[in-house]
């Protein structure tokens, strides 16, 4: 193969084609950029935040409920986004809260993906009774709104970061199982799987090395959408007082804390954490949206 041929093959590599198709939309690129910024801010929260909002030594009750832009009583710190009732800098609280929200959302999504994907692969590849049973369970699960499943589980388990992750996984695994199964069923009938079988490869190798990679594109779309759903659901549950305990204040809990002050016009305690949540969900949805257009051949622009 000549160098020119190789270059031509490289140019047609699916990954490159996808990247090019993704970059088609400036809005989607902006979403990706925003997402990278948000994740970076979440990771670097302890170094970015002007104060550690949960170190009581750094808080001053006299600075409580200051509007955005106020200067702290000792003149050392400017509260860009105001303070809450305990004199906590809202910007710092939001950065720390973002960190918790992102960690919970990503962890729940990865776990749900793992569980749903494995079950879906097995059901789609082998079919039979297991498939029939699994799809029944999936149908029932999907007919039930995710917020109810999660609320009931949290009502049984109580609060906690591990418990909310379990609740999120329990209410979301079915999406992955169904998607994986439907793709796996189509792929399992294709010639390359037949060829792999004729070569005498082990079933485990066929399912995970050959079948799985070809099921991934639609799963990536579902996963991107579900991270947003998981983060939103966690925020909602925490807002209702069912999700995370006060010792782990995610964005939802910060918004809940500001609720009571809303009526007296102290909008910033609820407004800014909500904006942070909105931007996170918006970035994720923009990315997921474009991924769907890129990875779904039916809608590919001519």
């Amino acid at each position: 193969m000549s160098a020119a041929d190789q270059a031509a093959v490289m140019r047609d590599h699916p990954l490159r084609r996808w990247i090019r198709a993704y970059a088609d939309s400036r809005l989607a690129l902006a979403g990706l950029g925003l997402l990278v910024l948000i994740v970076a801010a979440a990771i670097a929260a302890p170094w970015l935040a002007p104060q550690n909002p949960y170190d009581l030594m750094q808080l001053d009750m006299l600075d409580g409920r200051l509007p955005p832009g106020s200067v702290s009583g000792d003149g050392e710190l400017r509260y860009l986004l105001g303070t809450d009732a305990q004199g906590r800098d809202m910007l710092s609280a939001i950065l720390y809260g973002l960190r918790i929200s992102v960690v919970v959302g990503v962890a729940a999504t990865l776990l749900a993906l793992l569980v749903g994907m494995t079950l879906g692969l097995v059901a789609g590849y082998f079919g039979g009774r297991f498939d029939a049973l699994l799809m029944r369970v999936v149908d029932i699960q999907l007919a039930f709104p995710s917020i109810l499943t999660a609320m009931i589980l949290l009502a049984l388990f109580g609060q906690g970061i591990d418990k909310i992750i379990i609740a999120l996984v329990a209410s979301q695994w079915a999406y992955y199982a169904r998607t994986t199964r439907s793709v796996a069923m189509v792929e399992a009938d294709k010639a390359y799987i037949e060829a792999a079988r004729l070569l005498g490869l082990s079933t485990l190798r066929i399912v995970f090395r050959h079948l799985l990679p070809n099921c991934l594109p639609p799963l990536m779309v579902v996963a991107a959408l579900q991270v947003a759903a998981a983060i939103a659901l966690e925020a909602t549950l925490s807002f209702l007082g069912l999700g995370l305990p006060v010792t782990e204040p995610s964005l939802g809990l910060l918004i809940a804390n500001g609720f009571q002050y809303l009526y007296s016009g102290r909008y910033w305690i609820s407004l800014f954490p909500g904006l942070a949540l909105l931007l996170t969900l918006l970035a994720l949805n923009l990315v997921a949206d474009q991924l769907r257009d890129v990875l779904n051949p039916r809608l590919r622009k001519s």
Binding site: A143, L156, A235, L240, F259, Y263, S270, L281, L282
Partner: protein, 325 residues
Amino acid sequence: MPFFILRRCLQAVNVLVVMSLLVFAGVYAIGSPLDLLVDPQATTEDLARAAAALGLDQPVWVQYGRFLSRALGGDLGDSFIHGSPAIGLILARLPATLELAVVAMLIAVGLGIPLGLWAGLHPDTVGGRTIMAGSIVGFSLPTFWVGLMLIMVFSVQLGWLPAGGRGPTTELFGLPLSVLSVEGWRHLILPATNLALFKLALIIRLTRSGTREALQQDYVRFARAKGLSTGRVVGVHVLKNILIPVVTVVGMEFGSLVAFSVVTESIFAWPGMGKLLLDSITQLDRPVVLAYLLLIVLLYIVINLVVDLVYALLDPRVGRGGSGR
């Protein structure tokens, strides 16, 4: 067609039985309500007597059998907190929730279908792009936060609308309703808008992508080639075909609208059954939680059944011949 209906009804009963089992196991079998009901200083004999009185000393399957037979008679147990039948507590709050959900769905459909159709017909115009961008934002807006912002803007800052509660209701055929009076609407409009927003975004996208797909189909091209007016092509041929997924989603999402009203009701202090559920969860009032769940499951099954039947009416391919879908 009658066979199709019969088979769907049998399936529905099946699902209801399975769900009742799951819900029962989830809510009753995990943990003991005795710890909550009985004085911590109670002796072992006291505990045994209380367990016997509540039937908790029986094997689980006997408990389930009792629960099921009582449930068939419409008795889902008494609330631990209120002491009155759980189902009565929920049914008393059902009209408020249903009214909220119905108005929200009407807002979502009434705005969503025209906007989605327009965005699908003119995908590359400024208007079409704006509608789509709006629907992405609508998708990303956390419902509970939008509720707070609506209160902040319309109740606190502008002072136009009440921040919570249902206000006075007008009776119609024994049902207390808000939609019949101006004051009722003033209380209803914020929560209903709040609840509708997510579904509105969903319906816009669904209608838009359905329209775009339909426009590429042969029957639409043929209809155009035949010289039919644009209005007729869109109004009859396109709309009829996108209505199938939209009806499905409206049906399926209505159940989730009722479920998500938990959030909206708790923000706007709307006296519906979602707020009751939340209070019951925090107070560990199991019979009410159980009754709520079973009612929601029943609602879901009925909705699914209706959706399937409407589906069969809209799409003649469904339900004709024994195999169905």
